[in-house]
C-alpha cells in the first residue's frame, strides 16, 4: 500500500480501542482468586522504627521487612567517580527516609479491606530531624539520611573549561534560579498484578511500564531468581513520562508475595500514593553567572547547580543522572569558549527524584534562557539578537560543543527566525508603549534548546548506571497469509508506536499498515531492550524495524525471483509485490509458498524463511539533536498576579517525521506539561518533610482552558546518522515553555523592575516580586520622594 509509509499522517491504529473505551490497562486485569494489596506507609519523613504491632487477627495477611529477609534492596549505582550508593529497602528496615515509604504489605479480598488492615497496624517511630531543603542538606550540621556516608551528597561533579579567560568580560550577571519539585501526572497511575505459574515455573508480573526488560533485570536481582522465571507484561499504558520506567519497591513486594501466597495479587496506586509517595521530579537550584561582551556575545557560563535527589537512588536511572546531565547540557544550543559547572545530587527526606519528560533539560533551559534575556536587558538588545549572536550556526554543523556534545545537524538560527516570523514583534513592542485597556501588561519571551535523543552505548557507558543501551533489536516476521508481525522491546505509553512502527515497515515492504501488527510490552515475546525513554523509540526501534524489514524484503525477493524464474538481481520490491522483467508475485503469495507450499521452493532456499531478528545502531551513537524555538506572548495582571498566554509559537526540527500528526500530538502534550511546570505544578514539603499536596485540588495541572493552541512550524534537517534521517522529538514540547513563559513574564513586568526566577510563576510569586521591587525602589528613593 502506497501513501502509508514514512511521512504519512495516518490516524492511530490504537485509537480504535482507546476511543471506544476498550483499552486494557493493569487495573482492568481480572484473574481468578485475585486479592488486593494496600501498604502501611510511613507517615513521617525521617524516623527510626522502634516496633511494628500487627493485630493478631491479621498476622497471616500482613508482611514486614522481617518476612522479606531474603529479598535484596534496590541498588541503582552510578559508575561516576565518587558516587555514594543508597540501598532502598523493599520494606523499611530500621529506618524510614521519606513519607510514603513502604513498611508493611496488607492483603485482603478488596482494597478497602486491605486499607482497613493497614490502618490497624501500629508503628512506633523515633522521629529524627527531617532533611527537607537541599541547600541546608549540604551544610555540615545537617541531619544525615545515610549515616555512613558522612554527608548527604550522592555525587558532586565539577568541570572547568578555560573559565578564567571570561573573567574580564564587561558584562557579568549572577542570578539564583530555581524550579519547583513536581509530580509527573500520567492519567493512569502505577499498578501491578502478579501471579505465579507453576507450569511455567514463572512469576508473571503485569505492570504498566515503559521498560519491561529493565524491570525484569531489577526484579530478578532483588528476588534472587532466574530471569527465565520472570515474565513482565506491560499492557496498555495510560501515560508514563518517566514515572513508568522505574522499578518500584511495590513491584518487588507484589512479586515476592505472588511467589508465596498461591493466588494472584494486585496493587493499584491511588492518586494520594502517586502524589505523596512517588513520581517526584524536577527540583533544581542554580547559582549561575554569565559573562558577555557589550554586543551580547557570550564569553562564558559559570554555574553551581544543586538537584534535590530525594531519599534513594531509583532504578535504573540513579540519583545522579539529573545533576550530572545538568553539567553536560547547560551550555544549550550556544557556542562559547569558557565554562565551569559544579553540581551536587543531594539526598533529602523526600521521594526519590525520577526522570520526567525532558529530564534535566527543562530546568537547564529555564536557567540558561533566563540568563540570555538578562544579558539582552543589560546590553540593551532584543533577546533574539543575543541568541542569534551565540547560537551554533548551520555552517558549523556537525558541531562538538564545549561539553563535547555532538550536535548532528540543523539550523538553530533559522528556527528562531521562523518562530519570530509567526509573531509581530515590532507590533508587540509598540503595543507595550501604550497602556492596555484592561490594565494588564503584555510581554514576549523566547526560548530555544536542542535535545539529545536516542543516545546510546558510548554516552550511557559513561554514566555507568545499571542500564546501558546497545543495539536495539526488532523482529519482523511474515505470517502465512501475508501479514507482518513486528516485535520490539520498547513499549508505547502514548507514543503511537502501533501505528508508526508499522509505517516504517510499510515504507520498506509495502504491506498494508492494517496487516502489520506490533507486538510489544511482554518480555516473553519481544527482544531485549532498555525500553522507551530518552526520545529513542522512533530512532532506535524505528531503525531496528527498518533493518529487519529490509532483511525480510531480501528473503522475500529471493523466493519471488525463484517463483518468477528470474535472477535475484532482476527483481524489485514494489508496493508489496516482487516485480520481475515480465510479471510479478505478491508478498502474500510468497508467504503462502514459504509456509504452506514448501514443495514449490528450491532446495537452496534460504532457511531463515521470512523472518528476521536483528539489531540496529545509528552510524554514531552520540544521539540525535532535534531542536525548537518557542515564543510565548503573555498578558500579566499586575493586581491579581494572573498570567494568561495569549499567543504561543513553536518551530521545531525533528528531522524526517514518520507521522507528522503524531509528532504534533507529542508537541501539544509536551507544551501542556511545560505550561504546568511554568505556571501551576508544585509539590511543596513542610519543614518536617510532609508533602503538602495529596489531591489534584492542591496539586494543580493545566487543563484545556489553560493550554493555548500553539502555532506550529516544522523544519526538516535530516539526521545524518539514522535511518531515514529521523530524530528523537518525544520530550521537546515539555522543555522550552517555562523559559519562554518566564522570559515573557519578565518582559511584561520590565517596567516594574521585576525579574521572576522561580517556577512555577504563580500569581502569588508575581505579586510578591512586584511588591519586593516596589519596596526596593522606595528604599532607593531619597526621603520625601514617593515612588
Amino acid at each position: 500500500m502506497a501513501g502509508q509509509g514514512i511521512g504519512a499522517s495516518l490516524l492511530r491504529k490504537e485509537d480504535d480501542r482507546f476511543l471506544r473505551g476498550r483499552g486494557e490497562f493493569v487495573a482492568d486485569i481480572r484473574l481468578p482468586g485475585l486479592r488486593d494489596v494496600a501498604f502501611v506507609r510511613s507517615p513521617v519523613a525521617h524516623a527510626r522504627i522502634r516496633g511494628i504491632r500487627i493485630p493478631p487477627q491479621y498476622k497471616d495477611v500482613v508482611f514486614t521487612a522481617a518476612d522479606l529477609k531474603d529479598v535484596k534492596p534496590i541498588r541503582a549505582v552510578s559508575g561516576l567517580p565518587g558516587f555514594k550508593a543508597s540501598e532502598q529497602p523493599i520494606l523499611a528496615f530500621e529506618k524510614v527516609r521519606q513519607v510514603g515509604e513502604l513498611i508493611a504489605i496488607c492483603v485482603a479480598d478488596t482494597r478497602a479491606e486491605a486499607e482497613d488492615i493497614a490502618a490497624a497496624v501500629e508503628v512506633d517511630f523515633e522521629e529524627l530531624p527531617a532533611v527537607h531543603d537541599m541547600l541546608q542538606a549540604r551544610q555540615p550540621d545537617s541531619a544525615l539520611l545515610h549515616e555512613h556516608w558522612g554527608d548527604n551528597v550522592f555525587l558532586e561533579t565539577f568541570v572547568d573549561i578555560n573559565m578564567e579567560a571570561a573573567f574580564d568580560a564587561p558584562i557579568k550577571i549572577t542570578r539564583e534560579i530555581s524550579t519547583a519539585r513536581q509530580s509527573m501526572a500520567p492519567m493512569e497511575g502505577r499498578g501491578t498484578v502478579a501471579v505465579w505459574h507453576n507450569r511455567m515455573d514463572q512469576l508473571v508480573l503485569h505492570t504498566g511500564n515503559q521498560q519491561p526488560h529493565i524491570v525484569r533485570n531489577g526484579l530478578a536481582e532483588c528476588l534472587g531468581i532466574e530471569q527465565l522465571q520472570i515474565r513482565i507484561i506491560s499492557p496498555d499504558v495510560g501515560g508514563g513520562f518517566g514515572y513508568k520506567g522505574i522499578l518500584l519497591t511495590e513491584d518487588v513486594c507484589l512479586g515476592w508475595l505472588a511467589m508465596r501466597c498461591g493466588h494472584p495479587v494486585r496493587w493499584i496506586e491511588d492518586r494520594r500514593e502517586h502524589l505523596t509517595a512517588g513520581a517526584n521530579c524536577r527540583e533544581h537550584y542554580y547559582k549561575i553567572t554569565v559573562y558577555a561582551d557589550r554586543d551580547g556575545k557570550l564569553r562564558g557560563v559559570e554555574c553551581e547547580a544543586t538537584v534535590d535527589s530525594g531519599a534513594y537512588s531509583s532504578y535504573p536511572f540513579s540519583a545522579c543522572l539529573e545533576a550530572a546531565q545538568v553539567a553536560s547540557i547547560l551550555p544549550g544550543p550556544y557556542d562559547f569558549p569558557s565554562y565551569r559547572c559544579r553540581t551536587w545530587s543531594v539526598a533529602t527526606n523526600k521521594c526519590p527524584i525520577l526522570p520526567y519528560r525532558g529530564v534535566a533539560r527543562t530546568g537547564v533551559c529555564y536557567a540558561i534562557e533566563l540568563m540570555m534575556d538578562a544579558i539582552a536587558r543589560e546590553a540593551g538588545l532584543e533577546p533574539y539578537e543575543v541568541r542569534l549572536k551565540n547560537l551554533v550556526r548551520p555552517d558549523q554543523m556537525p558541531f562538538d560543543n564545549i561539553t563535547k556534545k555532538h550536535f548532528d545537524s540543523g539550523d538553530y538560527p533559522e528556527a528562531l527566525r521562523q518562530a519570530l516570523a509567526k509573531i509581530d514583534l515590532p507590533g508587540i513592542r509598540e503595543r507595550q508603549k501604550k497602556a492596555e485597556p484592561d490594565g494588564r501588561l503584555i510581554g514576549v519571551g523566547l526560548s530555544i534548546y536542542c535535545e539529545q535523543g536516542a543516545h546510546g552505548t558510548s554516552v550511557y557507558a559513561g554514566w555507568g548506571i545499571p542500564m546501558v543501551p546497545g543495539h536495539e533489536q526488532a523482529t519482523a516476521r511474515m505470517t502465512p497469509d501475508g501479514g507482518l508481525e513486528l516485535r520490539v522491546g520498547v513499549h508505547s505509553h502514548g507514543q503511537s508506536m502501533e501505528t508508526t512502527l508499522p509505517q516504517v515497515a510499510n515504507e520498506i515492504l509495502g504491506i498494508d499498515v492494517a496487516k502489520i501488527k506490533l507486538v510489544h510490552g511482554d518480555t516473553e515475546y519481544t527482544p531485549y531492550s532498555t525500553g522507551s525513554w530518552g526520545s529513542r523509540c522512533a530512532v532506535m526501534a524505528g531503525g531496528a524495524v527498518a533493518t529487519a524489514s529490509k532483511e525480510v524484503a531480501g528473503l522475500a525477493m529471493r523466493i519471488g525471483a525463484h517463483l518468477l524464474q528470474v535472477d535475484f538481481d532482476q527483481v524489485k520490491l514494489v508496493d508489496g509485490s516482487v516485480v520481475g522483467p515480465a510479471g510479478s508475485v505478491t508478498l502474500q503469495e510468497i508467504a503462502h509458498t514459504w509456509y504452506r507450499r514448501p514443495q514449490d521452493l528450491p532446495p537452496s532456499v534460504d532457511p531463515r524463511g521470512l523472518e528476521s531478528t536483528i539489531g540496529y545502531k545509528p552510524v554514531r551513537d552520540s544521539g540525535t539533536f532535534s531542536y525548537a524555538a518557542h515564543i510565548a506572548v503573555v498578558a500579566v495582571d499586575p493586581e491579581m498576579g494572573d498570567i494568561e498566554i495569549i499567543d504561543y509559537v513553536i518551530v521545531e526540527d525533528g528531522g524526517k517525521l514518520i507521522n507528522p500528526m503524531v509528532v504534533d500530538g507529542q508537541i501539544y502534550g509536551g507544551l501542556a506539561q511545560g505550561i504546568g511546570t511554568a505556571l501551576y505544578e508544585e509539590m511543596n514539603f513542610d519543614s518536617s518533610g510532609q508533602p503538602l499536596a495529596s489531591t489534584f485540588a492542591d496539586y494543580l495541572l493545566p487543563g484545556p482552558t489553560e493550554v493555548p493552541a500553539p502555532k506550529l512550524g516544522h523544519m526538516e534537517t535530516l539526521a545524518p546518522y539514522t535511518q531515514f534521517g529521523v530524530k528523537g522529538i518525544g520530550e521537546g514540547g515539555a522543555i522550552a515553555p517555562p523559559a519562554a513563559i518566564g522570559n515573557a513574564v519578565n518582559d511584561a513586568l520590565k517596567s516594574y523592575g521585576v525579574e521572576l526566577l522561580q517556577s512555577p510563576m504563580t500569581p502569588r510569586r508575581v505579586l510578591e516580586a512586584i511588591e519586593e521591587a516596589r519596596n526596593k525602589r522606595n528604599k532607593r528613593m531619597p526621603e520625601g520622594v514617593s515612588a
Binding site: M640, Y680, A697, T705, P763, L767
Partner: protein, 279 residues
Amino acid sequence: MKPVNFDYARPGEVSGALKLIADEGLTVKIVAGSQSLGPMLNMRLVQPDLLVDITGIEELRRFDERPDEIEFGACITHADIEDLRIPDVTCGALPSVARGIAYRAVRNRGTVGGSLTHADPSADWHSIMAALGAKVVLRGPAGERTIPVEDYMLGALEADLGPGEMLVSIKVPKLSRSARWGYYKSCRKTGEFAHAIGAFLADPDRGVIRVVIGATESRPIVITDAGNIIGDGRAERLDAAFDSHAVSEVIEAAGMTNPIDKQTHIVALGRALEQAQSA
C-alpha cells in the same frame, strides 16, 4: 483511598432523615451530591457509621416562589440554577455564579445545600448568597429556625448545625428593578476554588447595600450596611464611589493582614463593582 465500611440509608421524607441522624450512638453524615463528601470519604477524612442520602426526599427538590422571595430545597443542584429550572429572582446573579462553579460535571450533582453545609470558605454560594441577603432554613428535633446565610458558616468546614439538625431550604429575596449586583472571583485556573472573591448587592429601592469579601481563611467578611464603601447605590458608576481604604480597614479588622491577600481581595471587590450587572 477507599472509604471505611458504612451503612447507607435513603429516606423519602425529611422526618425520616431527621430520625436517622438523631442516633447519637452513630457517626452519621448526610450526603446529597457527594462532590466534597465523596473524596473525603475516600481519603478517610470522614469515617461514618451511616450515610443518609437525602436526594430521594421530594421536599428538598422543590421550590416555592413568593412575592418577595424564592425558597428552594437543599438538594437543588448548581445546574438547576444555571439552567433556570429554579426561576431567577436575582437579576441573573445566581445563574451567573452557578455557571462559574467548578465544572459542569460537578454542577450536575453538587447541591446548594451541600455546598453551604460543607462550609468551604472559597465556595461561591457562601459569598453570593451573603451578598444577596439569603437565609437558610434548618430543621431539627426542636423544630425549625431560619438564619442569615452569613451566620451559617461558623468557620472553615464548620456549619451552625445543632445535634440532629439539617439544612432543608434556602430563601433568596427578590431584587427590585433598581438592583445592581457584582461578583468577581480569582482562581488559579478554570474550575478551581477561588483565592479571592468580591461580591456586592446595591438595591437602593429596598434600602439594601451589601458587600462581601470571600475566599478568606474563614467565613466571608460580610458588610451588611456598606454605604460607606460604595455609597447609596444610586451612582451611575459604582466603582467611582468605591472607597478601597474603608474596605481595607474592615478586612484588616477581620484579621486579614497579609498585604497581598488584602490587595487581591480589594481588587476583586473593585472588579465586581466595575462589572456591575442590573436587571
